[in-house]
Point group: C2
Chain length 437, copies 2
Amino acid sequence: MSDARLTGDDLRDAWAVLSATERLEGFQHLKRAEADEFFLGLSTHEQAAMLRAMPSAERRLWLRLLAPDDAADLVQELPEAERAFFLGQLDDVSRREVVALMAYAEDAAGGLMSPRFARLRPEMTVDEAIRYLRRQARERLETIYYAYVLDQEQRIRGVVTFRDLFTAPGGKPLAEVMHTAVISVPDTMDQEAVARVIAEHDLNALPVVDADGRMKGIVTVDDIVDVVQHEATEDIQKLGGMEALDTPYMETGFGAMVKKRGGWLAALFLGEMLTASAMAHYEHEIARAVVLTLFIPLIISSGGNSGSQATTLIIRAMALGEINGRDWWLIIRREVAAGLALGGILATIGFIRILVWQAVFHSYGPSFVRIGLTVSFSLIGVVSWGTIAGSMLPFIVKRFGFDPATASAPFVATLVDVAGLIIYFNVAEVLLRGTLL
Amino acid sequence: MSDARLTGDDLRDAWAVLSATERLEGFQHLKRAEADEFFLGLSTHEQAAMLRAMPSAERRLWLRLLAPDDAADLVQELPEAERAFFLGQLDDVSRREVVALMAYAEDAAGGLMSPRFARLRPEMTVDEAIRYLRRQARERLETIYYAYVLDQEQRIRGVVTFRDLFTAPGGKPLAEVMHTAVISVPDTMDQEAVARVIAEHDLNALPVVDADGRMKGIVTVDDIVDVVQHEATEDIQKLGGMEALDTPYMETGFGAMVKKRGGWLAALFLGEMLTASAMAHYEHEIARAVVLTLFIPLIISSGGNSGSQATTLIIRAMALGEINGRDWWLIIRREVAAGLALGGILATIGFIRILVWQAVFHSYGPSFVRIGLTVSFSLIGVVSWGTIAGSMLPFIVKRFGFDPATASAPFVATLVDVAGLIIYFNVAEVLLRGTLL
């Protein structure tokens, strides 16, 4: 590859396998316009890593390229000790904006918004507004397509789009042109909820107000795409039974990754140890009827799988706002019915399997019908229990103030395994007493 | 609740528990402006259901409210037999647009785009362009903020934003003002890939071109929020070990839901039956050393959990485009190391657990150290196998042309369970021969 012709796409393709030094070197070979676009396309985490790898003299240029909300995110990625230095690289106006934004939690509306929005007054005419915005177009505003009409206390009176201005008579005051039903969100609202408001109302921009109702900034839909991606990734990783990584898989250090996976794996392991205790409790039965052990993995995994399906469905529906905490009663009715139906399907397959193996291999001795019934009834019980536990656990976890996604499939499976063993051995005791037990 | 004061928010809150008739009734009580917004905020599926519930006379009004891409999606939701009737409700121009869009797959760029974009010619001056767009603002264009400069063959020569027009001298020709490096995508590109292009380049609008390079429409970022949400939901549901539902949980019919869950549950159950065969193979060993069975659920579930973590991480990283098919070699090295580390952690905890129980309850007889070593070595083997199988399965599934998300956690767990039993009993045979076995 000839250095002179390195493009942003080339660099992006090779990115994952490059070291920090190689990344910087490649980046410095890009043409200026391409380098700008490439830098803005990086994640905050990658931008921070790149800036830290650069000679100090170059940092200012790239830091100033960022919108204040992105700059605030970047500064928050840095170690405490380096923040003051980076803030010092900004011009005064930007620094004040960035510091104000840093007061908000990164995942709140306030941390997501840009303070650079277009402001108009209700008494302006349409022509005045267009002329004013035309001058403002040179400023680094987030968007000039939406302009907010504010009163003297910075409270939102209405909103106009360019399209409104262009189709209205030039002499009309804005107060008669603007839309007055403006949806806004508080600066403390969680970004996941902000994303839902934007998606639900199909908005392109959403004003953010403080506790006194004063407009502080706008969140635009392009920021929301990243939020939605990021929140889905977090939920998916939690559903896989680990802590969310926060950084892309290939860029997560080995130690950090082992810690985030190992913590949950160890916790699940400790929970799963209860199965060893439960099994020990039935050691006597196992010794008398070894045939019972053959179906243990089959039965407990079926409970785990049905629980995994139920918890995944409920957690996602909660994240999308399709169901909320009060709906548990609707859901338990549905899931009990689903559990019985699904358990019935598996029970039928399991019973047939035992009959066939008995006919062909004579695997299970004279009590094969009772063994088959034991497996089938256990499956109905375990699968139903799996769907109930799987669908209710997200509600319980949420009630205690945790993210419902913590009720991951492996977590549910671990709970269901112990219950599954107890169900199985109790069914066996009833059905096999006097024959095998 | 007084009907006269029913708001869109009230209706949205009650939505999940209302029947189709109640929904329509509530909707018809909304004020016109609120009803518009409410209708546009519904999913395509809900819009279709609502229209079908309405008297024919009212349908036209609501159908015409939709942008052509949304109308095309809606018509595609309808049963084949009703489509012609609904298309007949549209005006001629819209109908032609909708029919053209229906030729595209719903999840391709062509099915996502709007054909109503602002077109300019390179020889126009800035002032001419502004005047032209001001007239166009009355048309139902998707956005007037981005205007595309096309040549006579409808090929993209450049793009200008309002901001560009407002800051440039009025007499300059567009050819000197426009940005010529325009990112566009083919109309056949999958919507997930379109979403990645938009997210990566932080675009607000993305032009779509046909095979001859002619511009056919634009995809805007607000459509992409829905795509990203929808694709994440699909992946999450597949990761939970079922078919994606395609409709919200509360709106999915009971039969459809049982089918989508039952199919995978039965398939996993058939796979898991291999554990019964594996166990039968070791029946002799189990009869001689019942103590071995106590740890079976613990060991196989640990393999399942580590596999679930690995497959989830890889599937998500693939969906985000962070890794691709060629990266498997980088990943297997990383995952083998992670598996050994994680297995080592669990092995240590398991060994301590056995020592403690032996000291307190004398649970495991004189061979307790060998039993502890058997469990520990098995855990290292099973957990490592789990991470390898979990991380490689998405690559294999993808290679065969399926969605990597099909390599769900329950699917991996089922594979790992059988291998886990084989590893465990083989380790036991080596370590316990001459003592327990």
